[in-house]
């Protein structure tokens, strides 16, 4: 009898509590991300269904121009590179023979450069206008392009590669001439450690270059910051990097969804039941800020952030939709 009354009181309290929360009234059939949606494009005309097994998305800012690059690897049909403007209008589509490892693109003074597997896309051949790109685009072979590149704003570039515990990088000139030597550095004193490079970011407002790694043998992501001047100036780093350049360590993001943007990071945490997840916001020191965005939809996505924030992009491999998402942590 008493237990029954207690149960009824608790049930009523729970019901009122649920009703009292905003969530009860604001829960929607539509994903919460829809309210942050700035633009959306269906790329099913450009990308054949079910073939886009590998893809990479990157966003580039060149002065006042923002471009979005989506590279897809089609197992039986080569690779495609789709170039879009900041509002996701398709500007140009390129077919490539292969796309082993598409990397971030970068820019300076009206030129845009990027890497795509074995080739580099030379900015010298691109003429960027406010509305798009002019053809033709040519590709030239790059000796060791690396997956990710950053620039110092003077048309010098750095490309990074990681192999096990060893980080290496090249310095390139504007015409992809290597002007710095190859520098291999151990990331950790643990020789058995094995890292993957998730992203490299060169925010002009920062003195450092940001590199984000995941470690294969632990549930940690590592966010390193290296002095930009040292990196591109050909100055040696002090090994090991983890000791001398202590990174921010954070519990591993799900689906590799962690990225630098606007003096902080966004990081994805999947729900335990697998139904979506939540992006949270971290500052540069790793503090979790009171901003988040719940994803209830399919999270088979990759994101590409802008250094300046304001928005970011996501591409869903399942739906072949590319979307521009307004920054939910503020502008």
């Amino acid at each position: 009898m008493v237990a029954s009354r207690v149960f009824r009181v608790l049930a009523l309290a729970a019901a009122l509590g649920l009703l009292g929360t905003c969530d009860f009234f604001t829960l929607s059939t539509f994903p919460a991300t829809a309210s942050q949606l700035a633009a959306q494009r269906d790329l099913s005309a450009e990308i054949p269904a079910s073939f886009a097994r590998t893809f990479a998305l990157s966003a580039v800012t060149a002065g006042s121009i923002d471009l979005v690059f989506l590279a897809t690897q089609l197992p039986y049909d080569g690779a495609h590179l789709i170039v879009m403007d900041k509002d996701l209008h398709v500007l140009q589509t390129f077919s490539l023979q292969d796309l082993i490892n598409f990397g971030a693109s970068f820019s300076s003074a009206g030129a845009i450069r990027g890497t795509a597997g074995d080739v580099s896309i030379q900015g010298l051949h691109w003429s960027v206008t406010a509305m798009g790109l002019s053809s033709p685009v040519t590709f030239t072979t790059s000796p060791e392009p690396g997956a990710f590149c950053v620039t110092d704003g003077t048309d010098n570039y750095a490309g990074f590669n990681i192999s096990g515990n060893t980080l290496s990088y090249y310095g390139y000139s504007a015409v992809w001439a290597v002007f710095n030597n190859y520098y291999p550095y151990p990331l950790s004193t643990n020789a058995a450690a094995s890292f993957n490079l998730i992203g490299a970011y060169d925010d002009p407002s920062l003195a450092d270059v940001v590199l984000i790694f995941e470690e294969n043998n632990s549930a940690q992501d590592y966010c390193f910051t290296f002095p930009k001047s040292q990196l591109l100036g050909g100055l040696a780093f002090s090994p090991d990097l983890q000791t001398n350049y202590p990174p921010l360590q954070t519990y591993r993001a799900d689906n590799r969804l962690i990225a630098y943007t606007q003096n902080g990071y966004i990081k994805f945490q999947k729900e335990p039941n697998g139904q979506g997840g939540t992006f949270i916001r971290l500052d540069m020191a790793g503090n979790t800020l009171p901003y988040s965005l719940r994803y209830t939809e399919d999270t088979d996505i990759q994101i590409a952030t802008r250094n300046a924030g304001g928005w970011y992009y996501e591409y869903n491999r399942t739906t072949r939709m590319v979307r521009k998402i307004s920054a939910w942590w503020g502008r």
Partner: protein, 445 residues
């Protein structure tokens, strides 16, 4: 054998206390013995006995204490002290067992109110003729008398049941036990045994005829709906309700005979009703037959808005096509987000399950297709179209006449067949976890 002892009892059961005791002892012993000769078959099923006694009225007279030093201790009202407690306990045992056998016990006030009964003392009822007369005058079917006597450490208990219609001794017992707490257990068992034997006394043995059948000259059907036609189970029309009633000449119908009548009225659902033949037969109203209803609803997951629907029934109040509209808003997920506006439209087919249109509770299921138009004013593009399949919606409904309240969980799947869309191909779940549930009301035209 039985008759002989009974006669003996009548002759000897005269007012003097000593002679009453002796007469009762002789009578009860004899009657118990006689009953015992016939008892064993009746003990097979006390349930059958209970069924046969259901609703029959019984008059339980006070338990009389005939102990040598007895005072005014006759139950239920008499005295105080050990004798009174004992009498009350025995009376309670009798009452409980009779009630358990589904007899209806008359109170003392009921059987005392007949003229001449008020002045009788408890001992007067030990006279079987008096007991039968008093109980009969109160309308009881059974009279129960009892007494006991305590001598040193032993107790003698006698209980007798009389059929008031025949005046016959119906069952009883007289037992002696060592007087301790076990007496009451034994007493209950003896009473139950006697009651089971009571079933062995068929009314027919008393020579009385079975109740006479009552044949009705006419049935008067009453109902609240004018013009309602009544048809008998053989298809004959008995006529229509006029001014609230229909008199049907039904000579030969036995009172109490079960009848199945069909009720018809234009604009209402035909219904069948089981009734028993009686001078006046009250009929329940028919449920209105609706071909159109409107619906107002509120759906979890779309709470910043509300919807409405029109139902067109192709089987009245049963199967229908429905067309619905549901505009609602969606709040921004952050301070830097934007409002969304949706318009959900759906066409569906539904049907009720299991229960008739006039049932208080009804269940139904529906399926359909829908399209949600979404307007995102600050997005490029700003219009989105999500087609979906309502795989199945199952609802429970509280049917309150022209208005019903329903609760309807829905299973919907976005098809992703138009571009641009927001949902792709996915199951619609508010918050990604819950199924949409609609609370609504229906008004039947």
């Amino acid at each position: 054998m039985f008759k002989m002892h009974y006669t003996c009892c009548v002759i000897t059961a005269m007012p003097a206390p000593k002679s009453i005791v002796h007469a009762m002892i002789i009578f009860t012993l004899a009657a118990s013995f006689a009953s015992a000769q016939d008892a064993s078959p009746a003990q097979e099923s006390s349930a059958a006995q209970a069924a046969s006694s259901a609703g029959r009225e019984v008059c339980v007279f006070p338990v009389v204490d005939l102990s040598a030093s007895n005072g005014p201790a006759d139950a239920p009202a008499g005295g105080s002290g050990e004798g009174a407690d004992r009498s009350r306990s025995m009376f309670s045992a009798l009452s409980a067992e009779l009630a358990g056998a589904r007899f209806q016990l008359l109170t003392e006030d009921q059987w005392r109110k007949a003229p001449g009964n008020a002045s009788l003392s408890p001992r007067d009822f030990l006279d079987p003729a008096t007991a039968v007369r008093v109980a009969g005058s109160a309308g009881a079917d059974l009279a129960v008398t009892s007494f006991y006597s305590v001598q040193q450490d032993r107790i003698l208990v006698s209980v007798s049941f009389y059929d008031t219609r025949s005046g016959d001794f119906a069952a009883g017992f007289m037992r002696t036990w060592r007087y301790n707490l076990g007496v009451y257990s034994a007493l209950h068992a003896e009473i139950r045994g006697a009651l089971s034997r009571l079933d062995l006394l068929p009314v027919a043995h008393s020579g009385k005829p079975a109740p006479r059948e009552v044949l009705l000259a006419a049935l008067t059907f009453t109902g609240p709906q004018e013009g309602m036609e009544i048809l008998l189970s053989d298809g004959r029309s008995a006529g229509k309700i006029d001014s609230g009633k229909l008199v049907f000449p039904a000579a030969g119908i036995k009172a109490g005979e079960p009848l199945l009548v069909e009720k018809r009225l234009a604009g209402y659902h035909t219904a069948w009703q089981r009734v028993r033949a009686a001078p006046v037969v009250s009929l329940s109203p028919l449920a209105r037959s609706s071909l159109l209803s409107i619906e107002a609803d509120w759906t979890f997951g779309q709470l910043i808005g509300a919807g409405g629907a029109v139902r067109l029934y192709f089987v009245p109040d049963f199967s229908f096509a429905s067309f619905s509209l549901y505009p609602y808003g969606q709040a921004p997920a952050s301070a830097w987000g934007n409002w969304l506006y949706h318009l959900d439209t759906e066409a569906s087919l539904g049907t009720y399950l299991f229960f008739a249109p006039d049932s208080l509770v009804r269940f139904g299921a529906s399926t359909g297709i829908g399209l949600i138009y979404s307007l995102l004013p600050r997005t490029d593009p700003s219009s989105y179209f999500d087609a979906y399949l309502n795989i199945i919606s199952i609802w429970g409904e509280l049917n309150l006449g022209r208005v019903s309240i329903f609760l309807r969980p829905e299973m919907k799947m976005a098809l992703g067949m138009f571009s641009p869309n927001l949902l792709g191909t996915s199951v619609l779940m508010p918050g990604g976890v819950f199924a949409p549930v609609t609370l609504g009301a229906i008004y039947k035209w």
